[in-house]
Symmetry: C2
Subunit: 352 residues, 2 copies
């Protein structure tokens, strides 16, 4: 059930044996092995990771947030950033850097270097290094055990709805999100739509939750970036366990649910395979629970396996590893991947 990307990464881990490959496939690499530094890298390419026309400031903040989410997943304290930026002629470099530097400062990060190139497409690659929390331990995907509670640090599926709205013409300019006409009314729908767009463009990395997890005697975590289902498969595979989740734990509130259906989307599908949620998916020993301030909620538990199950209204089913496969294309997508999410974001999507 592994995606093309997961297969390549598994191959790479084997091929890289002796050259550091054992770390490949985690949210961050620990340096020296097991040491006090965590390093992670993320890419944002125009037309692939974001729609053309995104304001430079928003791109800068989103690039950083997405990357910080990987540090949050391992429980690291952000320290340094290195940027590689390829810009088309006329790109507003200074607003981009001003926003990036301000956001870096807010997280105690130092931008220490980078590389600047021309490119036809705007492309930004950020490498971050974080430090282990004093007295804490690294949180990885391997720390789950059968019987652990499975938790989410926040709602999943809302970001994907925001992506659908942006593809249909929603925009975030200045302080307000504008919506394409069919989503302007009723008011409850519009409020949910605006929240979804903000959620997509301005994810909030759960660094505090990651620090808390780093202080536990045992925990496993990753951040939900490619889709809950595929990321849960990764957590279970790397921990050597199975899992079981409840569909009702993923239910949308009424307005969000109505918005999803208006967009022709199944709320459960969005929650399972939408991706780009950037909340932490984590496992804790049974009985342990995070402080209420984190607004985490339990969605199921790890089992002795094999396989992953989801319990819904119609009973218990196998949970497919759906979500983004960064190497699949619309036509080549495997049985477990989601062609919609795999296709590049279109510049001129069909009207809703």
């Amino acid at each position: 059930m592994a995606s093309g990307e997961d297969e390549l990464i598994a191959w790479l881990r084997r091929a890289a044996r002796g050259a550091g490959g054992e770390a490949i496939g985690d949210d961050a690499a620990f340096l020296p092995p097991g040491g006090p530094w965590a390093v992670t890298v993320d890419t944002q390419i125009e037309g692939v990771h974001f729609l053309p026309g995104l304001a430079p400031e928003r791109l800068a903040r989103r690039l950083l947030a997405v990357n910080l989410s990987d540090l949050a997943a391992v429980g690291a304290e952000p320290r340094w950033a290195v940027l590689a930026l390829a810009v088309p002629p006329g790109f507003a470099c200074r607003p981009f850097f001003r926003a990036l530097l301000k956001a870096c400062r807010g997280h105690g990060l130092r931008l220490v270097g980078g590389d600047l190139a021309r490119g036809e497409r705007l492309s930004a690659v950020l490498t971050l290094a974080g430090e282990r929390v004093p007295g804490g331990r690294w949180v990885t995907r391997t720390g789950g055990r059968a019987g652990d509670g499975l938790w989410l640090g926040g709602r999943v599926g809302e970001s994907a709805l925001g992506r659908h709205l942006l593809a249909r013409g929603a925009a975030w300019e200045g302080r307000g999100v504008t919506l394409p006409p069919p989503f302007e009314a009723p008011r409850s729908l519009a409020a949910a739509a605006r929240r979804a767009v903000r959620r997509h463009l301005a994810p909030k990395p759960q660094l505090e939750l990651g620090r808390w997890l780093a202080g536990r005697p045992r925990a496993a975590a990753l951040d939900v970036s490619d889709g809950l289902a595929i990321d849960l498969h990764r957590l279970c595979r790397q921990s050597g366990v199975g899992g079981r989740i409840e569909a009702r734990a993923l239910a949308f509130p009424a307005a969000l649910d109505a918005l999803a259906r208006r967009l022709g989307q199944s709320p459960l599908d969005l929650a399972l395979a939408g991706g780009e949620d950037y909340v932490l998916l984590f496992a804790l020993p049974a009985g342990e629970q995070p402080p209420p301030a984190f607004h985490s909620f339990q969605i199921g538990e790890l089992t002795s396996g094999p396989g992953l199950l989801i319990e819904g209204e119609d009973g218990i089913e196998a949970l497919a590893a759906r979500g983004w496969d960064h190497l699949a294309t619309g036509t080549e997508a495997g049985a477990g991947s989601q062609p919609r999410a795999n296709a590049p974001i279109q510049k001129n999507p069909p009207p809703a």
Copy 2:
């Protein structure tokens, strides 16, 4: 005389004050400030940094070599690599990674993590971390003093000739470089052409020379990537000195000279502004010289300034800061930049 890129970087250093910006603009950032780690990042984008159709293995090795050259410039021992790769459908990922891992092993580097994405254009961003040589010191651009000898670690201009040949249809497949017909004969020309193509596609980072420099009581260095003239201006500006070089020290051997003229290029222009040479440009106190094994040669000396001069057959002239300006375009290029080198590499260049 600063380029658009240098201006942006100078602005960024000011804007980033308090957020680590003091390190921006060097070949590598030292972490923690003045500490034992050097971090650098480099980008290779299809159509910008290399011609479409480059074999994945060659791209992998070139990406690493170009990046290692930055570590060589500061005298660092390569340690870790993190890769962000964006690939179009059908890209041969495994040959790319096999070649990259093998090249990493050869330099004692561990590939510890990365990010994989789809992209319309092949784009690879590599972040490297290196460690200070035991007992050595960091080599920077600021360590030059008036009276120092100015040295090059190898010939400059040959790589740019290779780039011209590739744009005209030369190719390196398997073990042999094939040339477009006009360069197949005479034999001496063909040999020089093949060497130039190899020099362009497979630069050799001068890590040994960098280690030697790191062991000196005082040295300044950078690697010649954007062009000798512009990089020499950077060295002098950051060391607060002037400089003077001799054109005859940059002369090509006869066959290479003939090849350049056949391609309609001035050998001296190629040497001064061709770029992508990836040899070290360094300054040493007068009287010191590198061991002969490095094949370095002196090209001039640093002066109390102001400005940079070049002594040629027609006397002494000011040396313009020519070379690649990563932010300039053909039409917007400043007086000091070189429109030819600034334009993206063309897929279908006009015939020679």
